[in-house]
C-alpha cells in the first residue's frame, strides 16, 4: 500500500498513536491534533490501518478506540518466558464469560447460570484485572449491583466490540443466553401447542422420552 510519502495528517496520527499509552478514540485523536475534523481523522486512521495490515505491527480498533499492536501471527516469536498474563481460576473465567455474554448481569444471575455460589473474590479478581466493572444497579427489588465488561476487556482479548465475542450470535440464536425460566416456559408453550395440534408431545422437548427409556 501507500509507498508514496505519507501526508502530514497520516504522519501525525502515526506518531500520536505510537506514542500514546492508551488506545485513543477518533475524537481524542482529532482533539490532540489541534481540532482536526473527525471525518478526516477517521479516514486517515483507516488508511493507516490498511498500510499496516501486512506489516509486523497492526493498527486495530477496540471498542471505538485505536491502538497499535503486534501482528497476531508473530505471537510465537514474541511470547515471553514469564507470562505477563494473569492466570485465572476456572471459576473466574466462567464468571468473565457470563458477564461478557450477558451483560449487564447481577451476581444472582451469574450464580443462577453457574449453579454455585460465586465467591466474592472471583468478581474482585476480575475487577482488579480491569475486565469488569460495576455498571449501576438493576431497578428491581433489592436494587442489585450489576456488572459489565470494560474497554480494557475488549483490548485484552482483541475484540472490536462485544459483537465480536466468539459465537455470541449462535448462542443468542440458540436461546442459550436466555434465562432457564424463559427457555423452560418456551418449551412448555411449544409442547402445549403441539398437544393442541393433536400431535404427540415432541420428545426432544420434554423428559418423557428419556424417562420412558429408563423405565424400559
Amino acid at each position: 500500500m501507500s509507498s508514496e510519502t505519507p501526508g502530514e495528517v497520516l504522519r501525525a496520527l502515526e506518531a500520536t498513536l505510537f506514542a500514546s499509552e492508551e488506545p485513543m478514540s477518533i475524537e481524542a485523536l482529532a482533539g490532540h491534533l489541534g481540532g482536526l475534523e473527525n471525518a478526516i481523522v477517521r479516514e486517515a486512521v483507516v488508511e493507516l490501518q490498511i498500510h499496516y495490515s501486512d506489516r509486523g505491527v497492526h493498527l486495530v480498533e477496540r471498542g471505538k478506540r485505536w491502538h497499535f499492536e503486534t501482528a497476531p501471527d508473530l505471537a510465537h516469536l514474541l511470547r515471553r518466558e514469564r507470562e505477563q498474563v494473569r492466570r485465572l481460576s476456572r471459576a473466574a473465567t466462567e464468571v468473565l464469560a457470563i458477564v461478557a455474554y450477558h451483560e449487564p448481569v447481577s451476581r444472582a444471575e451469574i450464580e443462577s447460570i453457574r449453579g454455585v455460589q460465586t465467591a466474592k473474590g472471583t468478581l474482585d479478581v476480575l475487577m482488579e484485572a480491569g475486565w469488569i466493572k460495576l455498571a449501576g444497579r438493576r431497578e428491581v427489588p433489592g436494587r442489585p449491583v450489576i456488572y459489565a465488561t470494560t474497554q480494557e476487556f475488549l483490548d485484552h482479548f482483541g475484540l472490536s466490540s462485544r459483537r465480536d465475542l466468539p459465537g455470541i450470535d449462535e448462542l443468542r440464536a440458540a436461546g442459550l443466553l436466555d434465562p432457564v425460566d424463559d427457555a423452560f416456559e418456551a418449551l412448555h408453550e411449544e409442547a402445549d401447542a403441539a398437544e393442541a395440534d393433536g400431535g404427540e408431545p415432541a420428545d426432544e422437548i420434554g423428559e418423557s422420552s428419556e424417562a420412558g427409556e429408563s423405565r424400559g
Binding site: 500520536t16 505510537f18 506514542a19 500514546s20 499509552e21 490532540h32 491502538h67 497499535f68 499492536e69 503486534t70 497476531p72 505471537a75 514474541l78 511470547r79 507470562e83 505477563q84 498474563v85 485465572l88 481460576s89 476456572r90 471459576a91 473465567t93 466462567e94 468473565l96 464469560a97 457470563i98 461478557a100 455474554y101 447460570i113 453457574r114 449453579g115 454455585v116 455460589q117 460465586t118 465467591a119 472471583t122 483490548d155 485484552h156 482479548f157 482483541g158 475484540l159 466468539p166 459465537g167 455470541i168 448462542l171 440458540a174 442459550l176 443466553l177 432457564v180 427457555a183 423452560f184 418449551l187 426432544e204 422437548i205 420434554g206 423428559e207 428419556e210 424417562a211 427409556e213 429408563s214
Partner: protein, 270 residues
C-alpha cells in the same frame, strides 16, 4: 452450594479414566491425598456437566436419568474411597436421588412440579453453563495482550500542558481600584433624632390621666392629641407597656372585647 470445600483429601487410588479431570495429580509431598483440583472442579453442576460431556452427546439428547445414575455412583465411590465429600455434593446427590425416584415412579403419582420439569430445568441449566464454559475457553484462547499480542514497549506518552491566558481590560482594572478606594474611604454616618416617648413618661402620663376618671378609657385617648405620626407610634407602644405595668401593679384593669379590638383601661379603686 459454595465454592468452598473443593479440596478432597483421600487416599490416592483409582484415578480411574472415567474421572480424569476430576482428580488432578496428587501433590508429590503428600501421596496419600487425592486433590480434586480447583482448576477442574467447582461444584455439583460442574460435575454433572462433565458427566454430560463424557457421554459425548448433545445435552438435549442425553438421559438425565443416566446422568443421575453416574453422579450417584460417583458419590458412592467417593464414599468408598473415604473421600470427605463437600456438603453441596451431598445435597445435590440427595436432590438427584429424589429426582431419580420420581422419574421412576408411575406418572400419575407425581407431584407438581413434575420430576420431568425438574429434570428439564436441570438440563437447560447444564446447557447454558456448558455454553458459557465453552465461550470462556474460546475467550481465553484468543490472542491476548501481554501473551500473544504486544503493545508498544516504551511509548513516549502524550502530555497536554494547560496554560492559562488571563484576561482583563483597562476599564476593569481602573474600576476595581475605584471600588477599593470607595470601599475603604472613611465614611460619615448621620444618625437622625427620632421623636420618642419613653416608658417612664408614658407611665406618668397614663397614671395621671387615669386618676382623673373612674370610666373606661380607650388606650388611644392617652396619646398626645396633636403629635406627629412618628411620635404617636412611639407613644402608643410606650402607653401599651405602661398599661400592662399598671395592671401588673394592681392599679388598673384592661379589657378588650375582641382580637384587634379597642383596648380599654380603668382605674381600680382600692
Amino acid at each position: 452450594m459454595s465454592e468452598d470445600g473443593l479440596l478432597f483429601a483421600a487416599p490416592q487410588a483409582e484415578e480411574g479414566d472415567e474421572w480424569e479431570g476430576v482428580a488432578a495429580p496428587a501433590k508429590p509431598d503428600d501421596d496419600s491425598a487425592l486433590y480434586l483440583e480447583l482448576e477442574g472442579w467447582e461444584g455439583p453442576l460442574d460435575l454433572l456437566l462433565d458427566l454430560a460431556r463424557r457421554q459425548k452427546v448433545d445435552l438435549r439428547q442425553i438421559s438425565i436419568l443416566a446422568l443421575v445414575d453416574q453422579y450417584l455412583s460417583f458419590i458412592d465411590r467417593a464414599g468408598a474411597l473415604r473421600l470427605e465429600l463437600a456438603a453441596d455434593y451431598l445435597v445435590m446427590a440427595a436432590w438427584l436421588a429424589y429426582l431419580k425416584s420420581a422419574l421412576l415412579l408411575p406418572r400419575e403419582e407425581q407431584e407438581d412440579p413434575s420430576p420431568e420439569d425438574l429434570a428439564l430445568r436441570l438440563q437447560l441449566r447444564l446447557q447454558r453453563l456448558g455454553a458459557m464454559r465453552e465461550a470462556a475457553a474460546r475467550l481465553m484462547g484468543r490472542d491476548r495482550i501481554g501473551r500473544d499480542i504486544f503493545l508498544r514497549g516504551c511509548p513516549e506518552g502524550l502530555r497536554i500542558d494547560r496554560k492559562t491566558q488571563w484576561k482583563c481590560d483597562n476599564y476593569a482594572l481602573i474600576q476595581a481600584y475605584g471600588q477599593v478606594k470607595a470601599r475603604t474611604a472613611p465614611r460619615i454616618y448621620h444618625v437622625f433624632d427620632r421623636p420618642v416617648m419613653t416608658l417612664e413618661s408614658a407611665l406618668d402620663r397614663v397614671s395621671a390621666m387615669l386618676g382623673v376618671t373612674l370610666d373606661w378609657m380607650d388606650l388611644r385617648d392617652f396619646l398626645p392629641p396633636h403629635a406627629e405620626p412618628r411620635l404617636r407610634k412611639s407613644a402608643l407602644a410606650s402607653s401599651f407597656v405602661a398599661a400592662l405595668e399598671l395592671a401588673r401593679l394592681g392599679r388598673a384593669e384592661i379589657a378588650q372585647e375582641e382580637i384587634f379590638g379597642a383596648m380599654r383601661l380603668r382605674r381600680i379603686v382600692k
